[in-house]
Subunit: 265 residues, 3 copies
Amino acid sequence: VIVGILTDFGTRDHYVGTMKAVVLSVFPAATLVDITHDIPPQDILTGALELAAACPYFPPGTIFLVVVDPGVGTRRRGLAAQAGGYRFVGPDNGVLSVALMHLGLDSARIVELNDARFALPTISPTFEGRDRFAPAAGWLARGTDLREFGPEVHDPVHLSVPKPTRTPGGIEGQVLRVDRFGNLISNVDAPLVMSLAAPVDIVIAGRHVPRILSTYGQAPPGELCALIGSSGHLEIAINRGSAATQLDARPGTPLVIRAADGGKR
Amino acid sequence: VIVGILTDFGTRDHYVGTMKAVVLSVFPAATLVDITHDIPPQDILTGALELAAACPYFPPGTIFLVVVDPGVGTRRRGLAAQAGGYRFVGPDNGVLSVALMHLGLDSARIVELNDARFALPTISPTFEGRDRFAPAAGWLARGTDLREFGPEVHDPVHLSVPKPTRTPGGIEGQVLRVDRFGNLISNVDAPLVMSLAAPVDIVIAGRHVPRILSTYGQAPPGELCALIGSSGHLEIAINRGSAATQLDARPGTPLVIRAADGGKR
Amino acid sequence: VIVGILTDFGTRDHYVGTMKAVVLSVFPAATLVDITHDIPPQDILTGALELAAACPYFPPGTIFLVVVDPGVGTRRRGLAAQAGGYRFVGPDNGVLSVALMHLGLDSARIVELNDARFALPTISPTFEGRDRFAPAAGWLARGTDLREFGPEVHDPVHLSVPKPTRTPGGIEGQVLRVDRFGNLISNVDAPLVMSLAAPVDIVIAGRHVPRILSTYGQAPPGELCALIGSSGHLEIAINRGSAATQLDARPGTPLVIRAADGGKR
C-alpha cells in the first residue's frame, strides 16, 4: 500500500521522518512517497492544490497523509476520507477539499478521527501529524475500514479556490501557484482558454504575452511565453529563466486574456 | 528492517543517494527513512538532538545511520551500538550519545567499526559515510551481530547538552534548536516548568511571554506565546509567524522563567 | 528493483512525487531512491556529473530515471539505455552521457523511447518526466526488454566535460562542481595529480594552497586545503568552512597546479 505524504514541515527538522516512523510502526509494509514537504508554512490553499495535482497519478488504493495544519491542537476536527479509490487523512481545514471535489464529493465518504485506538497514546497538541494523522494512515494501510475511525462528517470545510471570470472581452484570472522554475500556474484551464477565438493576448504584470506555445523550448531563451502546463492550466513562463522573478509575480497576481479580435470562437 | 538516516549532507549533492545505494547493495530489502539531511554542516549537537527526538517513534529493530562527521578520515573511531532495541552506526564524536543516554547507557553495547569485511574495499578519507558507515548499517540490517564488527568501546565520546539551572527565582535555560517554523525549542522540559508555581513569566530576548498555552492556535496570529512542544520541552512560538526571526533568536539564546509571585508550587 | 531518480525539479512542488507515483503505478514493487532533485534548473552538465558519481555505488540491475530536460516537449529524443548492468531513462541531451562513457560506450545499447505502450496515454509537452520517462522506468523495472521501447540510437548527444590540460609547468584545470559544504571539486583526477613531482603548489582565485592533505580535519579550522575527494578528484576545501564562499569560486573557476620544483616525478 502506498502512503503519499504532503506537509508544510520542511525537511530540516526530524518531523517528517518521525511521522514516517509512526506509519511504519503501525504498518511496516507501507511504501512511503513524499509528495512535498515544502508547502509554505500554514498555506492550506497551496497544500490543497498540490495534493489535487498529484493525486490522479497515484494508483488506486493510495492513502494520502496530509498535514498543513495551522489549527493543530485546537477544536478543528481530524478527518479520514475515501473517494475515487483513494483514501485521505488530514485536518478538517480544507486541505483535502480540492482533491475530494475533483474526485466527486457525492461519492466521497468522510469521517471524523476520534477513536483513540487509532492514535498514539499521548497526543501532543502541537504535533497531531505524528500522534493522530500518521497512525490513522498506518491503520488505513493495514486495512481498517474507514467507518471504524469515527462518525460520518457531512459538513467538511471547503476551500474556496479563486475562479476565473468570463468578461465580455475575455477572461480575468490569477496566478495560483509558482513552481521552482518560476513558472506561474494560473487558475485558467485549457477549455476556458480555447473558448476564446485565437490568437489571444495575455496581459500580466503590465507585460503582453502574444501567443500560446506548446512548450518552453519553443520560446527563445529569456523570452516570456504562455502555454498549457502539465496540470492543464494556462502557465506563464520564461524559457531558461524565472517568470516569477522577472515579473515579480506571485499567487494572486492578476492575469487578463483577450481574444485579439475581441470575438468569440 | 528500517534504516533511519540522519546526516548534514544536504540533498543538493548525490551523497545521500550514494549512501542509500550502498546500504541497499548490502541488504536490498531495507526500508530507508530519511530523518533529515539538513543538519547545519558539522553541527554535532543539533544532529544528536534531532536523532534523540525522532528515535523513540521508530519501531524496535530500527537501525540508525548517522553521519555528522567533521572528523571524517581522522583517527576518531567509527561506532556501532545497540540500546533499547535499536541499533546505531556513526562516528564517535557524540552524535549518537544523546539518543544512547535516553535509552540507557548502562544497557547499551558499543563497538568500534574496524573489520574491513563490513566496509567497502576502498575507504575514502573524506566520505566514510559511504565507505564505512553505510555498509555497516547494511550488514546490521542483514543480521550481522554487533560483536562481529569490532572490539567493545567503553569510553565513547559524550556530548554535553546545555542544561537549565534552577535559581532562587526560577529557571535559567536556553534555546537548543530552531525549527523551520521559527519555533524556539528550549532545554527546559515540562516537569521542570511545572515545578514552578503558575502563572510564570518568561523572558527571552528582552520580551516577556506572559503565559503558557496548549497550542499555537490559542494565540492571536502574530503574538508571541509559550507552550510545551511535541518533544516535551518549553517552546517559544508565534502563531502563524516566526519567533526566531521576530526575536532574532537562535540556539544558545538565553531564556529565563520566573514564577510570577516568586514562589514555588 | 531499485529506481534511482535524479532531476532538477526541486522538492517544493509535487513533480517528483508525481513521477514516483507513475513509476509505482507501473511497477509497485520498485524501491525508489532519490539521488538528488536539486540540480540547478536546466544544468545538464551538473546532472550528468552527479549521476556519474553516484552510479557505480548502486547495485547492478538499478534503473536510473534522469530528468534534467530544458528541451522538454521539443523534438529532442527520449532515450533508454543499458550499460555495465545498469539501465537508464532520460532525454537525449547528454545528461546520461558521462555515466554511459564511464561504463563503456562500446558495450552500451541505446534506444529511442517512441512506443506509446510504455508512456501515459496523454503526454504533456511540458512534463515528459511524468508522462514518458517515469512510465518507461516502470516498464524497465517490470522486466520489459530494452529493445521493445524503440529503435536503436547510434548518435546520442555527448556532453563535453571540460578537461584539464597538461602544461610544461604543471596542470591547468577548473572547478566542476561545488557541494553543499562549499567544497570545490575539480576536473583533475588523482592519477594526474600524482604525475607531478610532489610537493605541488595549487593556485585558485589568487590563493596558494601549499600541499595536499588526506582529509579536511588535518587542516586547522578555517584554513584552505587541498585533498583527493571521494570521487577521486582534486578538491579545494576549508575545514569547517566554505571554500566556495571564501574564494568566491564556482563551476568554471580555473585552478593551476605546479610541481614546486617545476619537475616531473
